[in-house]
Amino acid sequence: MNVAPLLSFMIWLPALGALVVLALPRERVAAQRIVSMSAALLALAAALGVVFFFDPARAGFQLVESIAWIPSWGISYTVSVDGISLWLVVLTAFLTPVALAASWGTVERQERTFHALVLLLASGLFGVFTAQDMLLFYVFFEFTLVPTALLIGIWGGAERRYAAIKFFAYTFTGSVFLLLGIIGLYLLHGQATGVYTFDIATILASLQLGTLQLDPAAERLMFGLFFIGFAVKTPIWPFHTWMTTAHAAAPSSGAIDIVGLLIKIGAYGLIRYTIQLFPATAAWAAPAISVLAVIGILYAAWIAYQQTDMKRLLAYASVSHLGLIVLGMFALNPQGIAGSVAHMVNSALTTGALFLVVGMLVARRGSRELKSYGGLWKSTPVLGSLTLILVLGSIGLPGLNGFVSEFAVLQGAWRSPGLGWRYALPALLGAVLAAVYLLHMYRMAFLGDAPPELAQAPDVRPRELALLVIMATPVVLFGLYPNLLFGPMQQSATQIAGGTLQYLASR
């Protein structure tokens, strides 16, 4: 059921837009904005088209588009979506125009390049989530590094060069392991079946049919290579420091935070590769990885409380959420995996929107230090109320989006035979700590008395209001009707979890 190469449209439109933007004269800012926004919105339309044609009743890869690339080596340009990647694609498509709009008026120099890089990043992210060929995946995965590092390095704050280099070096190091894993799996599959291919669907089928049987040592080695690559990228504690540095150094408008850093390509890789390909090893390693995840949840939440820089605080909040995301997927049951993917979306929405709020605060006061703020709810009641909704969504208030996915993750972990309440209970404490650090931030910024500089601070402007309302709508919608999220991923989550059941049952 392939109506049109929707996925390819979606992947390449932003890149095309980037080229057009770069071709425009430097001083024609309005035209640049129109072109880049149109490209982003067309990609969003294509993504919604993908949702429309996606069949939620099926588990495997859908809307497959395949062109041979280097046939002799079994490399092809194959893109597709399944229940796991569908919402991450939509999330990327949704956040790209938001990021572009957030940068309007806040990026002073080289706006043209900025837009082009954001669009290139979007193309890369779409590619990561849709690539069904492992080498294609790797190319896109690496490619996203370049625009992100450049965006931080050119438009960032005080530590931008250090942060950009660290971001690049660190995650690139992880990628080396990933590449080794991909090639290793390719060779093992080729030797066992005689078919040399990078296509995941084929490899998966061989694994499930038993034509490719890995001995435990080889499987653990493969698992380890993929895991290290994605663990750094996710990041899983203790590989998280690049992320906090990068968020702290990223431009204050929040545009890069929400697309470049919050979209969970590492966590996605963990599900798609480590868990889906090596279910038995994933079940074997789940307790150890979950310990790291739980440490990450509590450790980052604890540190977030004392951060005086709001962006740093949110960066740690994000690391804490990632702990929950990893815990959920390694629960290895449908609730955990679906909750994990939903939490990727929800965390990106709420934390991303809060990054935008920080950008708006900086625009009013010129500082990211929490102590320069106070009493803003009085002078900016609309901003205060919208921020409160986002804060509550992030700390998991029932009825808003964060709660639903957090609950699914923890329920999954609690009932998982491999983990159980010993893992879920400490992770649950993260919910208290989240309330502590975020309400602390909210109280310092919006409650109490206002410093004289802020007493006359203007409330939200139309562009800001539109941005926040657009971000807050799914926060409420997914909280009240989360089946919108869970429905399409149902089959895929069940299928991936099913792969591990056999192993867990045998224990």
């Binding site: 080396v176 290793g184 420091t241 923890l410 919910a431 109490g448 009240l480």
Partner: protein, 654 residues
């Protein structure tokens, strides 16, 4: 007709949305909010009429709007339930809530943010109704956290002030209330996880619309299940679940050891204290236990612990109330103490008695708070009782109403509190055969009467101690609502009077509790209790209105401090739990956070591990002499390394 039950929470939600988004004027906001709660009350009555038509073996109305969450076998309905237990709670919430809304129109006149106030009051009523009407634990939890949120918002009503009487920072008190409640909420979530893991459902009863089965009837199924605690041996599953629920109750219902947020919650406007922190929200813990009574009825349940916590809290709260100097703080600790009675009652399995006290307390404590608000309002926003004195002449109506409330709270015959409190004490003595609990509760009752006598003496009797204060009586709307509640405080006992058992019969479809057979022994016990209370009340009044009255001075210690010293100080600070938490949790948490951030994260992980590895690689690059200095070179090296490996693999493949 079952859909009618959705009207009950829908009205306050509409009121909230309109006030939040459209309404800008104080008067319109107050009237809209009050009308919406009034309509909700009417809808409750209508639903009760419909409920009468339900068959007696399944006396409940349910209506599911949509399936809230579905992931494989995990299914939760967004559905409401209306049965007799819900009905009495909804009546209390919308009835007392409606009166408090009307009172607020007068009380909040001229306030800085009246529209915001009424919007959040409506949101609270909505959340509280969701809590008592949810047909499953997860939706109950939505209400459970929702009321906590509204409590946070309304305690922080004066968020821009540094301090409100008696020296509380409102935004700090608001955050404290939310965080302490969250501790309980986390235990609640854990209970939910355990229930779903073992029962496979979170629905209370069978949900016919979605075909989800209920867990309450299956309590016996898991009676033998054990949880392995490793080195700590084994714990029956039921004990674990009910213990977690108990922790949740200590948070929301301000029980020991989590009651510390409630006294500080008095930073909110007085109607908030009356509605949220006396009549409704804080009783949700009691409702939770009553709703889950089949779990608590299991022999292995944590019910004995519930009793212990309840009795302890009743006594601790009452003693702390004695030593307060702020008019609202006395009532706050009194609420803690009375909630202790309710929790003790449900801990003994006297669910009807617990609900009975919940309802009568809702009436007379709301009355007391509103009357205290009338005093505060009438004398120009002072709350320190040392500044008051002799106010019975300036505020005659308020005085009479306050006196009725005090008599009801002290359990004096024949006011409402006498009947409900006596039923709990009688149950402790005769049915639960727990004389120690009964004696503690009788003693607490005497202490209760003493502090109410003290308060009446300090506020309304003696000489006017502050010449700056000129009291004036409140307006019609405020007086009228207080009179209505006062009627309830006088005759509220009727709802479950011995011999009539109305409440018991009404709740029988849910609780199946036998009627209490009244004996002479109970009469004697009741007489002793009420005489003791009357004596203690008189003593409190006499001490503070006559004997020691000359020693009460603004800014000076309470006269009894001279005699009790440190003991008095302990009571004054609520037995020092705040002090303890500050040292055991708050400060170490802050210090550790700084340590983790500055030392562990920045130095150990980032500088030593990460940058150290990077430097090592750079040195490797130097060592190889193949590449020059700098990070970018390192990546190039690594990329090259990767490419070599790729080529090697392909070569090996051949």
């Amino acid at each position: 007709m079952n859909w009618i039950i959705w009207l009950i929470p829908a009205f306050p939600l509409i009121g909230f949305l309109l006030n939040a988004l459209v309404v800008r004027r104080e008067r319109a906001a107050g009237i809209l909010a009050s009308v919406m709660v009034g309509l909700s009350f009417a809808a409750t009555i209508a639903a009760m009429v419909v409920l009468e038509g339900a068959p007696s073996e399944a006396k409940r109305l349910t209506w599911t709007l949509w399936e809230w969450i579905r992931i494989a076998d995990f299914r939760v309905a967004f559905g409401l339930l209306f049965d007799p237990l819900t009905a009495v709670m909804a009546l209390l919430i919308t009835g007392v809530g409606g009166l408090i809304h009307i009172y607020s129109i007068g009380y909040m006149h001229g306030d800085v943010r009246p529209v915001r106030f009424f919007a959040f009051m409506n949101l609270f009523v909505f959340a509280m109704l969701m809590l008592v009407m949810a047909d499953n634990l997860l939706l109950l939890f939505l209400g459970w956290e929702g009321v906590g949120l509204c409590s946070f918002l309304l305690i922080g009503h004066y968020f821009d002030r540094r301090s409100v009487p008696p020296g509380i920072n409102p935004s700090e008190a608001a955050v404290k209330a939310f965080v302490v409640n969250r501790v309980g909420d986390v235990a609640m979530l854990a209970a939910l996880f355990a229930i779903f893991t073992n029962f496979g459902t979170l629905s209370f009863y069978d949900n016919p619309q979605l075909g989800i089965s209920g867990y309450l009837d299956q309590a016996i199924v898991v009676a033998g299940e054990m949880v392995d605690l490793g080195a700590f041996g084994q714990l029956p599953l039921i004990t674990g679940i009910t213990l977690l629920m108990l922790v949740a109750v200590t948070g929301k219902s301000a029980q020991f050891p989590l009651y510390t947020w409630l006294p500080d919650a008095m930073a909110g406007p007085t109607p908030v204290s009356a509605l949220i922190h006396a009549a409704t929200m804080v009783t949700s813990g009691v409702y939770l236990i009553v709703r889950n009574h089949t779990l608590f009825d299991q022999p292995a349940s944590a019910a004995p612990w519930v009793l212990v916590i309840g009795v302890m809290t009743a006594f601790i709260g009452a003693t702390a109330a004695v030593a307060q100097l702020d008019i609202k703080r006395v009532l706050a600790y009194s609420t803690v103490s009375q909630l202790g009675y309710m929790v003790a009652a449900v801990g003994m399995g006297a669910y009807v008695a617990g609900m009975y006290h919940l309802l009568t307390h809702g009436l007379f404590k709301a009355l007391l708070f509103l009357a205290a608000g009338s005093v505060i309002h009438g004398i120009g926003n002072y709350q320190d009782m040392r500044r008051m004195g002799g106010l019975r002449n300036a505020l005659p109506t308020t005085f009479r109403l306050y006196f009725i409330g005090a008599l009801a709270l002290s359990g004096i015959f024949p006011f409402a509190g006498f009947w409900s409190k006596d039923e709990i004490i009688a149950h402790a003595w005769f049915d639960a055969r727990s004389p120690l609990a009964a004696i503690m509760l009788i003693l607490t009752s005497a202490v209760t009467a003493f502090y109410m006598g003290r308060q009446i003496g300090m506020v309304f009797f003696g000489r006017p101690r502050d010449q700056a204060i000129h009291g004036h009586e409140s307006g019609v709307a405020m007086r009228w609502t207080m009179v209505t509640l006062a009627v309830g405080a006088v005759i509220g006992g009727l709802i479950n009077l011995p011999g009539l058992h109305w409440l018991n019969s009404y709740l029988r479809p849910v609780l199946q509790e036998p009627e209490v057979i009244y004996t002479v022994g109970m009469g004697i016990l009741a007489t002793i209790t009420t005489l003791l209370s009357a004596g203690a009340g008189y003593l409190g009044w006499k001490t503070y209105a006559c004997d020691l009255e000359p020693r009460i001075r603004v800014g000076k210690e309470d006269p009894l401090f001279r005699y009790l010293g440190d003991l008095w100080r302990g009571m004054e600070i609520g037995w020092g739990l705040d002090w303890l938490y500050q040292r055991v949790f708050v400060r170490p948490y802050r210090a550790a956070s700084v340590f983790l951030s500055d030392v562990v994260d920045r130095e150990a992980i980032d500088q030593v591990l990460v940058d150290g590895t990077a430097r090592g690689l750079v040195r490797l690059a130097h060592g190889l002499r193949a590449l020059q200095n700098g990070y970018i070179r390192t990546y190039a090296l690594m990329f090259l390394f990767g490419v070599i490996l790729v080529v090697a693999f392909f070569a090996l493949r051949g």
